[in-house]
Symmetry: C2
Subunit: 575 residues, 2 copies
Amino acid sequence: MKKYKGFEPKWVKEAAPRDSYRSIFRWGDPDFVKYPKESLYKMMKEKFKMTDDDFRQYAGDIGMDPVKLDAPCNLSGEHLKAFEEIVGKEHMTTEDYPRLAVAYGKTGYDAARLRQRKIDCLPDVVLYPGETKEVEEIVAYCTKHQIPLYVYGGGSSVTRGVEPVKGGVSLDMRPRFNKVISFSEEDQTITVQSGMSGPALEEALNEAPSRFGAKRAYTCGHFPQSFEYSSVGGWVVTRGAGQNSTYYGCITDIVLTQKYATPVGTVRTNRYSREATGPDLNQIMMGSEGAFGVLTEVTLKVFRYMPENRKRFSFIFKNWKVARAAAREMMQCEAGYASVFRLSDPEETNLMLRLYNVDETPLWKLLDVRGYQDMKRCLFLGFTDGEKGYSKNVARNIKRIAWKYGGMSLTSYVTKSWEKGRFNDPYLRDTLLDFGIMTDTLECTVRWSNMAKVHKEVRRVCHALPNTIVTTHMSHCYPQGANLYFIFITRMSDAEEFKKYHATILDAIQKSGASMSHHHGIGKMFAPWLEGQVGRTEYGVFRALKDYFDPDYNMNPGGTLGLDIDEKEKRFLKD
Amino acid sequence: MKKYKGFEPKWVKEAAPRDSYRSIFRWGDPDFVKYPKESLYKMMKEKFKMTDDDFRQYAGDIGMDPVKLDAPCNLSGEHLKAFEEIVGKEHMTTEDYPRLAVAYGKTGYDAARLRQRKIDCLPDVVLYPGETKEVEEIVAYCTKHQIPLYVYGGGSSVTRGVEPVKGGVSLDMRPRFNKVISFSEEDQTITVQSGMSGPALEEALNEAPSRFGAKRAYTCGHFPQSFEYSSVGGWVVTRGAGQNSTYYGCITDIVLTQKYATPVGTVRTNRYSREATGPDLNQIMMGSEGAFGVLTEVTLKVFRYMPENRKRFSFIFKNWKVARAAAREMMQCEAGYASVFRLSDPEETNLMLRLYNVDETPLWKLLDVRGYQDMKRCLFLGFTDGEKGYSKNVARNIKRIAWKYGGMSLTSYVTKSWEKGRFNDPYLRDTLLDFGIMTDTLECTVRWSNMAKVHKEVRRVCHALPNTIVTTHMSHCYPQGANLYFIFITRMSDAEEFKKYHATILDAIQKSGASMSHHHGIGKMFAPWLEGQVGRTEYGVFRALKDYFDPDYNMNPGGTLGLDIDEKEKRFLKD
């Protein structure tokens, strides 16, 4: 990172102390720091009407002190004894830090609450199960004794999915529930415990020859931005999507089989690529977000690891309309799909070209001269995967279509810059939040035919909010449409203020006619909107499933999917 | 068709009279007849220990006489009046013929029963709705008055899916519920009424430029063998698959949105390519087979119609093991997928090469000479679709891999022969059944790793049955496995005997560990096996859904998905 020429804010560059609040709310690797370069800092000051003085001290608590709550454990000794018998004394805790460490996810609301020391939820005990049988016994015990049960996988939920709002038990799956159960090269599948992290899974597959005696290396094909701190179980129960989903599919395409511990017993979903044996149990359990039981084991399809076939591309289009048309043609031409396929709108293009330092090169001006004007131009980038000929054919067609729509090829430089930042851009959030600048995201799915309307209407609402930068891209694309992903940046520190702000944008998304989530899921934060989104009769299906699996509502209770919230909390915006 | 040199059986070549029993049980176009050539006739005589004398007279009733049942309509005049108000007097009937015409599907059991005049089910009235509102009113009325409600789409069910076993109402969707509702070239979608037939849909899409002012022609990509007499609604509610599914996907991949009239009201499923908004309603309703309500409208993804890019291929492999390995490599190499991708086992290869007259060419002998021995060799054929470069790349990789596994390229002649027969091979069934030779099919899904075992065990059981030819192919393939499709031919006329025979093979499929249906569905015939297949706790989900949608069990009642059959009728074969 280049040194600042002028005033440089006191960016927090030291690692958060272990056991500190900061170590809980801050995203990612404690030893990695990301902060904006000088020109971006200047831009933000201008945008948010701030001065250097606003960056001389932190906007609030930065959480460097150790967690100390003195929160009592409200579970009886008898219950604790029972859990001890299941998982073993050394695999459970009622201490403050590990309880708080699994109580929050990673939305701006979570970060703001923790910075403000608003500790509004906490499990009574954290258990670290190691085997499926233990989880099954815990679920049975909690069901019998009406103890709320929560699961913490990777902790990257942005929907308040993991919050133990009713106390009780939280299963922290990270330390022990993270093993490979089996690998089949013949079927190209891997079966893992649900707490396995993304990087651990990918490493196991990349190393398949040495680990499993496989003939070649494999990849999981699933790389969400939260990859480093996400778990297979979290991907599955929330219906997640990776940044390479346009080729590899979303997790709902990648899962072959799931096993759950539910209050009514063990549930094993379909085991084959396709079946015509009634409703699809795989697709019923995915999206249950812990409300039907605990996901224990998952069999995933795996893909051949062939990075040598990858073809990078990036193009700039003159405006959003022509760029959308080009993207649609690429997705509908049946030439195969790119792996990363990402189109930014003008406001995001402006920000990205700065992030990738293009503003410091002659290209920035050249683009203007050639008619690709700042705040109109759109950046499109990505790369292909798959067998060599397939990959080449996809790249060739993308190029052909980009040219047809007046796109100008940039080098692979921009794509490579994006790749470098793909997992660590979220680190910027906490560095900025130290000075009261909040960054968060909302996303939805649209069809090509309502994409322009949704984009326009959501942005209109965002821009009507004070001091807001909102950037948009599509990054998971289909022949019939794509997601739209909104990143909003604003000056804000207060948790409740943020919650209202967030709700305003979510209202706008729902009003615009888009689907309210492409891959973030619902959790407890989006739950009030869900029934309005899917419809009353349709929502009744979710309740019927909940009543079947968990009639006493002990699984992830307190709002998940809106199943146990008050009717008047719900928001109905559709006609 | 070449003339027989020796004795030729009295194949029924005249069209079945309108209003005859034969016109109901016989498959397909009344004016099209298919019968075996002389060498096949000879082979069958030998296999089934029959002589020409067995072919001098029909083995039973061939159903040329008009339907006459004098079956009373058991619905009150009040109910009939109510239906008249909904659909109009001219769009309903209580006459014998149209009632029987919607009472049976197309399994061997259906044909045998009708030939034996075992009329064990009949609706009291047939309604011909024209609009969604009418269907919604009928469902509401039947729910209110506890009247059983059935739906007849294309009539090609092989699972007793359409049988109105409890009488009541049958909706015949063919004549009026068959319209295009909307077409979007931008989204590449078409919305149709559920009674639209396959050919009508395909024609509309092929003619998109003149019909909808589209820029190009489209295809539905879904061509089951029953294509000519199948309906979109039937495809969807049974989770069907077309012969081109390896490229285009099964119907569960092609559906974007569904609308149902259910006892609890109108249900509209998800409307986007992917969503993370709880369990997937599309995948809950597909597979409901009429038990949750009546499918009224479907939005399907459509594909570009580009037959000019099609590349045909066919290869012969030395044996089943090496052929399977080649097919697996083709499906796992990530070079894209062929559209038709079909591999026959040795017994089927023998039959197919005869069907396509290869036995009359020097090739038959040449193959033996070159080490591709009869009853060991396996025929693999298919073609590609998609954009030109994509299609070419798939074909190129198939060729490369076929060679690697010792495959010998045949010309496109065999593939073209298969294409000619792809929709009319089923016509053979009735011609043979006139002489007491029964043909039917069963199918399942396997993973690559259990394919050999399933194939072996099911064939072992089939061959232990008297006088049985059983041929097997895979025709819907995935990186993780494929379907196995068994065609069995035996000497049999009696319906009950057939039912037992069929059950024995289904038992064998379930015991072998395969999934009991890849795309035929469950209906009432396979229902006793379903709970054993999916598991008790898992099956409870289907019941919970049924209880939600249709608490009084009026929708396709009498066994569909096993929801209202006696516990002791169920077959549990798994541990």
